[in-house]
Symmetry: C2
Subunit: 336 residues, 2 copies
């Protein structure tokens, strides 16, 4: 087992976020799944966009956001994801590279059709309470083929980080299964974020099988994902059902903090106070980034959680899913 | 002369801003024109983009920004400008319509070549002092043809507002000359913003001739544009050289406030205090919006200026060139 070149290599949706404020009435009128993520087709995305106010575009994608946070915290990262050869694809590729992350997945041709769709986008409606309601058109992202994987690259990362959202479309799911095999064959760790309850509704058997088979080394879930995954409505019962089966379990509870269990050791953290919650987009992604930034340096579990809480608090204090603060300075200040 | 349907109809660059923070060293290393606007070609834009950090995209364009501000302040507006049929074109069109502005200029086909370029974009580097350094690739915008003008539309607006930036490329200049003729033939007012000293360096003779010929009813300039236009280094001497020749002259001085002279009457306003100057992009555009929002309602000159100062202060207190606050509420609070 050679020394890894990268700390974290992620496979995820390559998406541009289109973010606008809206009031609660608009969420109701448009019939949106408040606080959740809903997949939409091209026509659905166009309809929602037409109903949206003046917007801001920022690169997003859950795992890509996590890497952007990790990179800012001094972690060596590479990203694998599918954009189309169009302006949003250029934006995504620019921003992830500008964040210091290697990204070499070839762009996919697009003619705007369903067969060769444009780069994925996520229409995010942010209500006055800071809650984000996401509507994702996966676009080119759903076509990430196993053949686009650079297996030498995957073998060269200490941790392979996978985004549950991307488990839903078939082609990337196959690619991720192949990536897991490659990582494990090279003695690398596999980290997985459940992303959203609807993914577990659809693919829970896959996830439970991977957990039972010991394929996942690190698992990130939030409260509702944990409940969906385990069938246990009680948080602690959910933790108990799963903690012995994954070496590292990280379960977040939003404003109620987070719990981690690693090799039998348990740690907890309170949520970091935030003056004004502006936009919760990216909270879970940045929690994972903060946690992993400590984990890759073998920091104590409680300190890894604290890093997660600090990173999540930063990202919800402004619009957009990636850090906009000097995160190393902020961590220094908060962790001492 | 029929009653106008619109308060303001603007012709301007249809551009998407790509905004990133940068430090002062980067401005020096890239050899940028700090605080100014520089035209770049497609290759130059690509080079600068590659050197830029993670960015945010927001619809921009000087006159379009002014209309976005005017619309928020309850003014009826329509915009004329050229985007290409691409994702940035869709973004621009969406945002201006979402701002409540009519926009029907047909999109221009693009194949990404110099002959059929993509939608224009402006790469904006924002330094820690909030100063913006703009590098504009005009793209499709430079091809706005006179044939794209809806002359009935122009005849239906009380004020035709023209952006000096767009005087530089030949085809839109011809279109704007035609629009001026149409507006004047229907007894409408012509407002002009000088935009930037380099435009006056290149086209000052045109502007001076229009002023001498009494074609311009309202002229917006800042200090350096006034000096370039009049050849008078002293602000007051510049004002004196021009005030008698345009019915309404509005001259801004950044943090030193602004002066207006209308039909011989003079008014002044101090700059509105701002807690933190985040990004000066759009300051002049929103000053014009604030001023015109009062002007179209025949408000006293001093009050028009105060509106300009309030609108400029709002836009420089956040990233991006358009208001992000409830401007009618803010005006109510500040003006009583």
């Amino acid at each position: 087992m050679t020394q890894p070149r990268y700390d974290v290599i992620a496979i995820g949706n390559a998406i541009v976020d289109i973010i606008a404020s809206c009031d609660d009435e608009a969420i109701a009128e448009l019939g949106l799944n408040r606080g959740g993520m809903t997949l939409v087709d091209a026509a659905g995305a166009d309809t929602l966009y037409a109903a949206m106010g003046q917007a801001t575009e920022k690169s997003g994608g859950s795992a890509a956001n996590t890497l952007a946070g990790l990179s800012q915290l001094g972690t060596q990262c590479a990203f694998i994801g599918q954009v189309a050869k169009d302006q949003f694809g250029e934006v995504f590729a620019h921003d992830i590279r500008a964040a210091g992350i290697d990204f070499d997945t070839p762009m996919r041709p697009t003619d705007g059709s369903d067969a060769e769709p444009p780069t994925g986008r996520c229409l995010i409606f942010v209500t006055p309470d800071g809650e984000r309601t996401m509507n994702t058109f996966l676009g080119a992202g759903q076509f990430l083929p196993a053949s686009a994987l650079d297996e030498d690259l995957i073998a060269s990362g200490a941790i392979l980080y996978l985004e549950g959202y991307l488990w839903d479309p078939e082609e990337p799911r196959k690619a991720m299964r192949r990536a897991i095999d490659v990582a494990r064959a090279h003695g690398r760790k596999v980290a997985f974020t459940a992303s959203e309850s609807f993914v577990i509704d659809r693919h829970g058997d896959d996830f439970r099988a991977m957990i039972e088979d010991g394929v996942l080394d690190i698992l990130f879930v939030n409260e509702s994902e944990l409940a969906t995954l385990t069938g246990e409505g009680d948080f602690e019962a959910g933790i108990a059902a799963i903690a012995g089966k994954v070496p590292v379990l990280v379960a977040t509870k939003g404003p109620a903090g987070a719990v981690a269990i690693a090799h039998g050791e348990r740690a907890e953290v309170a949520a970091e106070p935030v003056e004004t919650v502006v936009d919760t987009t990216g909270a879970g992604d940045q929690f994972a980034a903060g946690f992993l930034s400590g984990f890759v340096k073998d920091e104590p579990l409680e300190r890894c959680l604290k890093r997660g809480a600090v990173a999540a608090a930063e990202v919800i204090s402004h619009y957009g899913p990636r850090p906009e603060t000097d995160m190393q300075a902020l961590m220094g200040e908060k962790l001492g």
